[in-house]
């Protein structure tokens, strides 16, 4: 117990329930210094806080994975059973469709030639065939944190690295921010800080998609088109435009459809509101786009749909 002099100069005992002024000052200043460091250094990329985040992720990532593994089967038992059945049905129908196509290809030369043409046409679309590492969402940030991030149960050991594209069955989910050995943090495209290069599918016009920071089923994205004369129509699909070497976003991943269009005289760009295909309030199974042939601690879904 440290005693201290009060204003009148007499010694008064320190109340153990009251904090010492030095402690208050030290902790407040530490918080402020940390915020300043992370905010200023984080703007250029490599923040000195990142190793700390990684270290804490190494400890809490596996714990979060384990907690989800324990809780999920109980919470999602009905949907789990149903989706297993649905997956089996999907696989069955895909197989029969493939068989049918193969039979047609073998039977008819004319069809084969036409197919060659379609092949050429779909060569562009073939960039959509990426190898995927499957992962599950284990933890989600709450609305109070005002940033839209989730943790997934795949990390560096599964072949993940920062700035990889994350998708699910419906479309674009986000990108990998940082990885630990067994978990990774993903920035969702709905985050207010997220910007994705987008392309209106039917006209190939490019623009930038910004998140609004809202979560839930009604989440929307804003699309600012570079070409101000072009007015996208409602219902037009928007896909990713893609960056060099596919980082952070690979090209041709479906994002959503145009909901409505606004244009202001003051601003020089059109602003379209996009409804994403993905329901960000119910994220579960996702895939991380990796280069084909990546070594991973789990099965990788290869370009041709096979598991490796």
């Amino acid at each position: 117990m440290s005693d201290r002099l009060n204003r009148r100069g007499s010694l008064e005992p320190h109340d153990p329930r009251r904090p010492r002024r030095s402690l208050v000052t030290a902790l407040v200043l530490t918080s402020l210094a940390l915020m300043a460091t992370d905010h200023l250094a984080g703007a250029d990329g490599g923040s000195p806080v990142d190793p700390l985040r990684r270290a804490v992720g190494e400890v809490y990532g596996p714990v979060e994975n384990a907690a989800t593994t324990v809780v999920d089967p109980v919470a999602a038992l009905p949907s789990w059973v149903r989706s297993r059945r649905e997956m089996a049905a999907d696989l069955e129908s895909a197989r029969s469709e493939a068989d049918q196509l193969r039979a047609q290809l073998a039977s008819n030369d004319y069809d084969r030639n036409r197919l060659q043409e379609y092949d050429d046409l779909t060569a562009t679309a073939e960039s959509l065939g990426y190898a995927l590492v499957p992962a599950r969402v284990t933890a989600m940030g709450s609305a109070q944190s005002f940033s839209r991030t989730v943790t997934i149960d795949a990390g560096a050991r599964a072949g993940l690295a920062p700035d990889m594209t994350v998708v699910n069955g419906q479309g674009l989910v986000g990108r990998v921010l940082r990885v630990s050995a067994t978990s990774a943090t993903v920035l969702l495209v709905t985050d207010a800080d997220s910007t994705v290069g987008g392309r209106v599918g039917s006209s190939m016009k490019v623009g930038f998609l910004h998140g609004r920071g809202d979560l839930g089923e009604g989440s929307r994205l804003d699309l600012e088109l570079v070409d101000q004369t072009y007015v996208p129509k409602a219902g037009e699909p928007v896909v990713t435009w893609g960056s060099q070497d596919g980082a952070p976003y690979v090209s041709g991943v479906p994002i959503g459809t145009v909901d409505s269009v606004y244009s202001s005289l003051r601003e020089t760009t059109q602003r379209a509101v996009i409804t994403p295909y993905v329901d960000f309030s119910a994220l579960d199974q996702v895939g991380v786009v990796v280069p084909s042939g990546t070594t991973s601690d789990r099965a990788v879904i290869e370009v041709d749909g096979s598991l490796r």
Binding site: D15, L27, V28, M35, F146, V186, L215
Partner: protein
């Protein structure tokens, strides 16, 4: 590490994991209850603002760094150390009455989420509209008060078990 600090560390870690995994699936308009904040408030109610302040800082730092957090580090640390300080000053005995701790939990929730949101406005960390911000704070306050009915008594019981009555025997404020 003595029994008290161990109990606090266990309670904070458990709250952090539950908050990010289980309760992130049970959200109200995207808002998950702030379990870590409630644990910090309970610790402060039991052990005073000196311990509350330190616990709040450590728990907040963990919340800033543990995945899936991506905001500027130090924001929850600042918010929760204020929560620890304020909640610790609300009672002087270490034996909060039910009405008292429920009020303290509500005040803590409001103060904590507000300080966090304000630091975000200053840093313009994610650019969020003020209306959205106030709505989120209000929803969080309601959800936190409901969860406080379970979290605060559980944490107080855990702390009591870890260190039965020792503080009050040794404490100078109660000879």
């Amino acid at each position: 590490m003595n029994a008290r600090n161990l109990a606090i560390a266990v309670a904070v870690s458990l709250a952090l994991v539950l908050q990010t995994t289980v309760f992130s699936r049970l959200t109200v308009e995207g808002v998950a209850p702030d379990l870590v904040l409630l644990v910090v408030a309970a610790v402060a109610l039991r052990h005073g603002s000196q311990v509350g302040l330190a616990t709040g800082f450590a728990a907040g730092l963990l919340l800033d760094l543990a995945p899936p957090a991506d905001h500027v580090a130090g924001r929850w640390a600042l918010a929760l150390l204020v929560v620890g300080y304020v909640a610790g000053r609300l009672t002087s005995t270490g034996e909060p009455r039910p009405g008292q701790w429920l009020g303290a939990a509500a005040a803590s929730s409001f103060v904590g989420t507000s300080v966090f949101a304000l630091s975000g406005l200053v840093l313009s960390d994610p650019a969020v509209a003020t209306g959205e911000l106030l709505r989120t704070i209000a929803v969080a306050l309601g959800y936190d008060v409901v969860l406080a009915l379970a979290v605060v008594p559980l944490t107080l019981a855990l702390l009591e078990r870890a260190e039965p009555d020792r503080v009050r025997v040794l404490g100078l404020s109660r000879p």
